[in-house]
Symmetry: C5
Subunit: 266 residues, 5 copies
Amino acid sequence: MKNIDDSAITRDGKSLIVAHDHGLEHGPEDFEPNPESADPEHVFEVAQHEAVTALALQKGLAEHYREFGGDTPLLVKLNGNSNLWSPEDHMSYLNCSVKYAVEELNADAVGFTFYAGSDNEERMAQDFRRIQEEARKYDVSVVMWAYPRGHGIESSEKYEGDTDPEVIAYAARLGLEMGADMVKCKYPGLEGWKDVEEVTSRMKTVMSGGSKASDEKFLSDVAGMIEAGGNGLAVGRNVFQREDPESILDSLEKVIYEEKTVEESL
Amino acid sequence: MKNIDDSAITRDGKSLIVAHDHGLEHGPEDFEPNPESADPEHVFEVAQHEAVTALALQKGLAEHYREFGGDTPLLVKLNGNSNLWSPEDHMSYLNCSVKYAVEELNADAVGFTFYAGSDNEERMAQDFRRIQEEARKYDVSVVMWAYPRGHGIESSEKYEGDTDPEVIAYAARLGLEMGADMVKCKYPGLEGWKDVEEVTSRMKTVMSGGSKASDEKFLSDVAGMIEAGGNGLAVGRNVFQREDPESILDSLEKVIYEEKTVEESL
Amino acid sequence: MKNIDDSAITRDGKSLIVAHDHGLEHGPEDFEPNPESADPEHVFEVAQHEAVTALALQKGLAEHYREFGGDTPLLVKLNGNSNLWSPEDHMSYLNCSVKYAVEELNADAVGFTFYAGSDNEERMAQDFRRIQEEARKYDVSVVMWAYPRGHGIESSEKYEGDTDPEVIAYAARLGLEMGADMVKCKYPGLEGWKDVEEVTSRMKTVMSGGSKASDEKFLSDVAGMIEAGGNGLAVGRNVFQREDPESILDSLEKVIYEEKTVEESL
Amino acid sequence: MKNIDDSAITRDGKSLIVAHDHGLEHGPEDFEPNPESADPEHVFEVAQHEAVTALALQKGLAEHYREFGGDTPLLVKLNGNSNLWSPEDHMSYLNCSVKYAVEELNADAVGFTFYAGSDNEERMAQDFRRIQEEARKYDVSVVMWAYPRGHGIESSEKYEGDTDPEVIAYAARLGLEMGADMVKCKYPGLEGWKDVEEVTSRMKTVMSGGSKASDEKFLSDVAGMIEAGGNGLAVGRNVFQREDPESILDSLEKVIYEEKTVEESL
Amino acid sequence: MKNIDDSAITRDGKSLIVAHDHGLEHGPEDFEPNPESADPEHVFEVAQHEAVTALALQKGLAEHYREFGGDTPLLVKLNGNSNLWSPEDHMSYLNCSVKYAVEELNADAVGFTFYAGSDNEERMAQDFRRIQEEARKYDVSVVMWAYPRGHGIESSEKYEGDTDPEVIAYAARLGLEMGADMVKCKYPGLEGWKDVEEVTSRMKTVMSGGSKASDEKFLSDVAGMIEAGGNGLAVGRNVFQREDPESILDSLEKVIYEEKTVEESL
């Protein structure tokens, strides 16, 4: 098993993942703030920013547009679900095999959404088990979108919903126990992130989302997360819905890899 | 992976698909306007019109009547469902494997109905994933009947049913994200089609159906769709329920490939 | 793929199938009119009548008693269900694989019940898809018991139950579309049978059942069906529940193969 | 396919099977009348009685204690279910593969419970189909515990519960149709057993249970069954719950193989 | 099949298993009494105590931290479930294959939770059957967490819940019948343990949990269990939630292997 530190999707042990799966997950409405973002060529172009360690996207985009991707490592997302669908509880279904991602799409890593707490937790865990073991055969890293959600959490008296820091830390720990190389967690605030770090030991962690109040607040969250031991960021709409994605990527590069202050980075 | 532009089912990047799957989908009543259309020999004969880039049909017809097919490329439909059946929500089930379609039936392309939004979305997505990856092995194109439908859409406050242009565009985008080479969409009007084009980038798109008011209105829709960037048409009953299918195919040829006006084409 | 006209189960393009699956489908009560019929040796003996082109039966009988079968071709039925069972809707489950039927039981053809319209239509269609494709590998013919039935039909305002001739014709057409070589349909009367013929083109069709009023009426139905283009008969209890099965088989031979009148055949 | 008459589990066409699966099916309470019977070593010892043609038991006992088994042929039971479980309707689930039973456990035959009439009939039939065909590959006999039971029978107006002789005969016939070599049926009285014989032709039949009123009544049932054409007995608790199992086995030997009267056998 | 007495996870026929799966099963809250226990490096270090015959843990920990494990044999747990999940009834789902556990993680044994009595009993039994047979191929021991639980037990008038000693003994017996090499049972008191021993014959048994009242009471339970024929202990939180795990492991070593009295062991 290759250490993720030797993998293409990290740089000095850190990672800045540009994710473009909202076309599948949310549909055309997510392209509206910046219609250009509907075009995979644009997406591949943006992802060539030198700060980016991986472009995360679905099979179809990887397949038809990789020629526009330069050397950006690909993190092929293996499951997902449309927002047209309304399942009984949260479910992300497989739409690409590891074999296909690696052999045909040249993936450097694979991504998988795990909704712990959903009534479908078991089914996603079964998919995860298989893709995790197959990814090892191909020596590609496994990134878990560790998104606790659903009936088990809503109905529990113990937890305060899926933004409860303990729930987020638990879901991150599941990634470690189940064999992920990296987990992607919603940012639960600085204290919450410290809890995540405490239970994930040396596994890589990247935050997803973060404050949208302002660039300053956003970068400040990222800086705090890095300081608390986090390994980086996975960012999607916050980049693609801007007309000038390069500028925010420049700033993120400084905060994540150079550990500069927010002021220095803006 | 062969580019669909090099595939037998396109001509100058465009496509006119004659589809004859209503015997399975709707039953004998669809043959009533023109009883001759019940006979697969007639179907294969009609499809030999030089404008036709593919004849879409089910396994059984392809198997027993291909000798009548001349050189018309075959687009074998891999799933479907009878109208005698009344499932809880829309579902199109597999009735042919890719291997069989290609090795035994000489398919040039395979077709698959995906009812995004149905409670069965996941199950069709699982089938699609497998057939898409297997089709790549055989280097045949994959055409998705991108038909949003069912409970997820009906119950959503966000969408206005399955003819909502945003829903149609979303379903078309799913085809791109999931790895189709071409999507077949219900025609949502000219503005709606432009939305489809905007989110499907360079993937092939063909319209299905269109106005039945008159030939002039129908051809006018097709001409508009072509001008908006669409790649052609998949037509079934609108051809087979006529006594003179050749005449409308002549007109379509002019509109689609020669980009003539409706007046010149009639 | 071998043409069914070259198969052992037809003679001059026609077929007289003796079916003995009521031990599984209905149980011992069906043996009561003629207890001897419970004995598979008797069954195999009856089926040696020269008019018979195939003996249809389940795996166990084929396996343990084939030594009594002479040269009668075997049509091994691949699915079925007991009458002790009370599923939510009609379902015929697999109880023999194609491989076993051909390699171990020396089947010349395989039979499959498809209850189109049942809530289980999809599941039977999945089984049918697999057995149809595997049967091609072994070059044995596929006979579909095309029996529309169940919730989808009962709940439809369009159809008048499973004896509605349009429903029977639709189910027969499904056999053609899905790749059967022959369909076995309940006899819907002469006009109804003509509809069946119109939508099944060159596929083989055999009627099942028919009037039990008298031999004369029964043979008259068969004669009409043959004249309307049908290819023969599958008969079970109507033969085995008689003490003298040979006599009715003699008559059927004349009606089916020699196209004699009922009077000449009795 | 080896004839069951040539198999180790019959002697002169008859069989006395000692079954010890109550540890799984009923739990420790069944050992209470004779605690020694909890010990598999004791079980294997008892089964060495020369009248015994097979010891029926689950995988775990066969695996860990076979060294105590002498030459007694093993009939490995392939499915079962605990009494702690409370499924919606009767179900016996697989807990050993044929391959494992034969290759690792040296089974001479395999056993399978089929609850015809249960809502789970289909699922057990699917398991049976596979194990029956695999058993043929290994040339081991297949014994079906033909136990009609469940919702389909309870809800039927036609049958009077699962002890109705017609139901028992129907279930036995299913064994014949589905390819078993031997069925094990609850004893429905002498007349009922004759019905079983009538519909099972040359397939082997063994009774299970029988009267517990007294040894005399029990042996008298067995003698009647043998006279009616039955092939023997499968007995479990009625042997193991005794302190002196040898004595009853001696008597059974006389009744079954030597066709002695009950008086001569006691 | 290797005898478990020759396996790395026993010593003189006994076993002291340190189990660390609470990160998956219960989440971060279980680390709170001793935050250090969240760190797998600490876990591997503790497990190097010479009394320990196996460290039981999930795939992810085994994979990423084995370098800290010294020579401690690994017992890889193959199933589990998060506490965020709220299934209809108890279920432990697979998250590692036997092949992966052995070939990639160097497991000396595999562990499997079986909730007999749950509505999901059948599904876990299916998983167990497969992993048991595959474990034999690799010659690694199979340890069953024999935890009766769920609807079947709660709804039974016969049993008094999942702590009823008869229920615990029944579940232990299932391990024997189904082919486990060792069962891990909740301690039902000394009399209850004797019942467990009576029905498990020569299979290995280890107790889990036991009194938390005091070390003396805990060791006394262990001593009694050993005397009653038990083979050892599997202990998790009772070790890791202490700041000085070594001391209690020292005492356990004396009680289990040297059969010293509690007084001598403290």
